[in-house]
């Protein structure tokens, strides 16, 4: 007679969320590639409103952040919180509601974006009915997550849970405040804030959505899965404590660096510069912690492609968290604002850090969930090189485009006239947009290989039942 299900970890919901995350990755990245193609061949919308660039772009960003990203974060959070607490999930039925509810909301939300239901506020485009649904599901996520922690059998709460927890709390706060609006119809609302005030609220939200979801949440993923994969303890516990609190405090202030030289108070901009620069320290501290944890684990690389991804993701994390503060400096921002350099920065983080750390985690996690070896290590290695090539090409093409734009827009000749017309400058960007399209195709092809690889790994397998191990009495609750 098998033990009751209560005695085993609830991993089926994890598996489902990983599957959804991979599907979203392929879908949302394909939309991204289509957008890149439209910038080279603008008639690719075939005169259809739902294929138009302006409507497709939020589908790409929301699909990646809320589809690919949140599904991965929710799944890995559920997986790791159980194991760091030595207790099965609290309220597993609620976890399933969050899992399927989230997919439904993002799918319907994505379709609503194509229909033109949008607030136009970046990463908060979904209109008010979806904002409410997201809030309810997010609270559910928090209940399952913190409920599991409250029931834990190990006294100390492991650091990965602090990051996931900070993500849940801060994203809830910024989402609710930024989404405040008065509804007009089901598909339209007007923001509570207007003009310059709306700008400051929006970028307090926008930057911290990146900070606590795309950075904080994925750091939670890294802090659990990296030591697990490398089979090594964390290099410095002390460093992780200091870095976490510095990170949580400092990130919040950096928002207005999206608004340099814009019509908001000067002191708000200056504060953002200073805090963005300070932010470099906790970010790099975390990166160093990760790299030093894994440096002695090289023998695993022969058989384990997952580790390759995580190691490289840390390098790109270092790049992105260095580039960000640098672009927050006013004299650099003068050139970079409104250009493709910002896009390049976003994607060095999104492709190099977020996608790669997730891919590494999935290559590690899925064989364990399936109780089988990874279907093909060779394919995973090929994926690694495609991901690296795609990311590098993307970054370099957008650096070139962005700096050119910034420089040419501001260029004044010897007699004090503008040197170039806007039209001519943008016409010269097409080669870079073409390169970026190729980069996207390369990265997408790697992602599709992974989807196939993971599918074949999971095909026909039975769910693996894992019991929480006994707890060392020294750490027992």
């Amino acid at each position: 007679m098998p033990d009751t299900i209560e005695q085993y970890y609830h991993d089926n919901v994890v598996t489902r969320l990983v599957q959804f995350s991979v599907i979203w990755a392929v879908v949302a990245m394909s939309v991204g590639v289509y957008l890149a193609a439209e910038l080279v061949a603008p008639t690719l919308d075939f005169g259809q409103p739902w294929l138009s660039f302006g409507r497709l772009r939020p589908l790409h960003t929301n699909g990646i952040i809320f589809g690919f990203g949140v599904s991965a974060l929710m799944g890995t959070a559920f997986y790791s919180v159980q194991r760091t607490s030595h207790v099965p999930l609290y309220a597993p039925k609620l976890a399933w509601v969050c899992c399927y509810g989230w997919q439904l909301v993002i799918l319907l939300g994505g379709l609503s974006l194509l229909a033109g239901w949008t607030s136009s506020k970046e990463y908060a485009e979904l209109e008010w009915p979806f904002d409410i649904a997201i809030t309810i599901l997010w609270v559910g996520f928090g209940i399952v997550f913190f409920g599991t922690i409250a029931r834990r059998k190990i006294k100390p709460i492991y650091i990965s849970n602090w990051f996931y927890g900070a993500m849940i709390i801060v994203v809830a706060m910024i989402h609710i405040v930024n989404s405040l609006a008065i509804p007009v119809t089901f598909s339209k609302s007007y923001s509570l804030y207007a003009g310059a005030q709306d700008a400051v609220v929006q970028w307090w939200y926008g930057h911290n959505a990146v900070g606590f979801l795309l950075t904080g949440g994925f750091l939670g993923m890294m802090y659990y899965f990296l030591p697990k994969q490398a089979n090594r303890p964390l290099w410095s516990y002390r460093l992780s404590v200091v870095a976490f609190w510095a990170f949580t405090y400092t990130y919040i202030w950096a928002g207005p660096h999206h608004l340099h030289y814009n019509a908001i108070p000067e002191w708000v901009q200056s504060l953002a510069v200073v805090m963005s620069l300070i932010l470099l320290a906790p970010s790099w501290a975390t990166m160093i912690n990760g790299i030093m944890t894994v440096r002695s684990a090289s023998e695993k690389l022969k058989t384990d492609p997952a580790l390759k991804f995580i190691v490289l993701s840390l390098a790109f994390y270092g790049l992105a968290t260095f580039e960000g503060p640098m672009m927050a400096i006013r004299s650099v921002n003068v050139i970079s604002h409104f250009t493709d350099w910002t896009i390049g920065h976003v994607h060095s983080g999104a492709l190099g850090w977020n996608a790669m750390v997730t891919y590494g985690t999935f290559y590690f996690l899925v064989p364990r969930l399936a109780g089988k070896e990874l279907y093909s290590v060779g394919l995973a290695n090929l994926h690694f090189w495609l991901a690296l090539a795609g990311t590098m090409l993307y970054i370099i093409s957008m650096w070139a485009a962005g700096v050119s734009q910034g420089l040419l827009w501001l260029s004044v000749d010897e007699i004090g006239e503008l040197s170039y017309g806007f039209k001519d400058i943008m016409a010269s960007m097409v080669p870079y947009y073409g390169l970026r399209l190729i980069a996207g195709l390369i990265f997408l092809s790697g992602t599709i290989l992974m989807a196939y690889n993971l599918y074949m790994t999971m095909k026909g397998c039975k769910p693996v039942l894992v019991k929480p191990p006994k707890v060392d009495p020294a750490y027992s609750v």
């Binding site: 090289s298 390759k308 790109f316 050139i335 090409l393 870079y432």
Partner: protein
């Protein structure tokens, strides 16, 4: 055609940036050597960096023809070749296993990315402060 003073300034600046890049990367590489158990002779690391960068340096002859497409056509494969030399060359030259070499190469890629973006940022910052092309800021 740019005025010759501008050309000289750009050429000298570019060369100094290259020098700085090579030397600093060699130092960083040697600094990383102890972490990965690699040989730590500075001359060896400098030689390794020179070989790794060779495809890019030779390929950059296409800068003589200021056409974006041509430069891209030559330099992208050159960069791929350089990356290949980095990942395969480190284990061979520094006498460590392929796996340790992979970790160290990734760390060096991290440094190179940060150095590149710093170069970008410093250039841009200098331009905005008035050193370089004439900008209406």
């Amino acid at each position: 055609m740019l005025p010759s003073s501008s050309l000289t300034a750009i050429s000298v600046g570019y060369f100094l940036a290259l020098l700085f890049g090579f030397i600093s990367t060699a130092f960083i590489s040697r600094w990383m050597a102890t972490t990965y158990g690699a040989r730590s002779s500075l001359g060896l690391h400098f030689a390794l960096i020179t070989i790794v960068a060779a495809p890019l340096c030779v390929g950059s002859i296409t800068h003589l023809f200021p056409d974006v497409f041509l430069n891209v056509l030559v330099l992208i494969p050159a960069m791929i070749w350089s990356m290949y030399l980095l990942y395969t060359g480190i284990p061979i030259a520094l006498e460590i296993t392929a796996e340790k070499g992979m970790l160290m190469a990734s760390a060096l890629v991290g440094w190179l990315l940060v150095a590149s973006v710093s170069l970008l940022g410093i250039s841009v910052g200098l331009w905005t402060l008035g050193i370089g092309p004439f900008l209406g800021v």
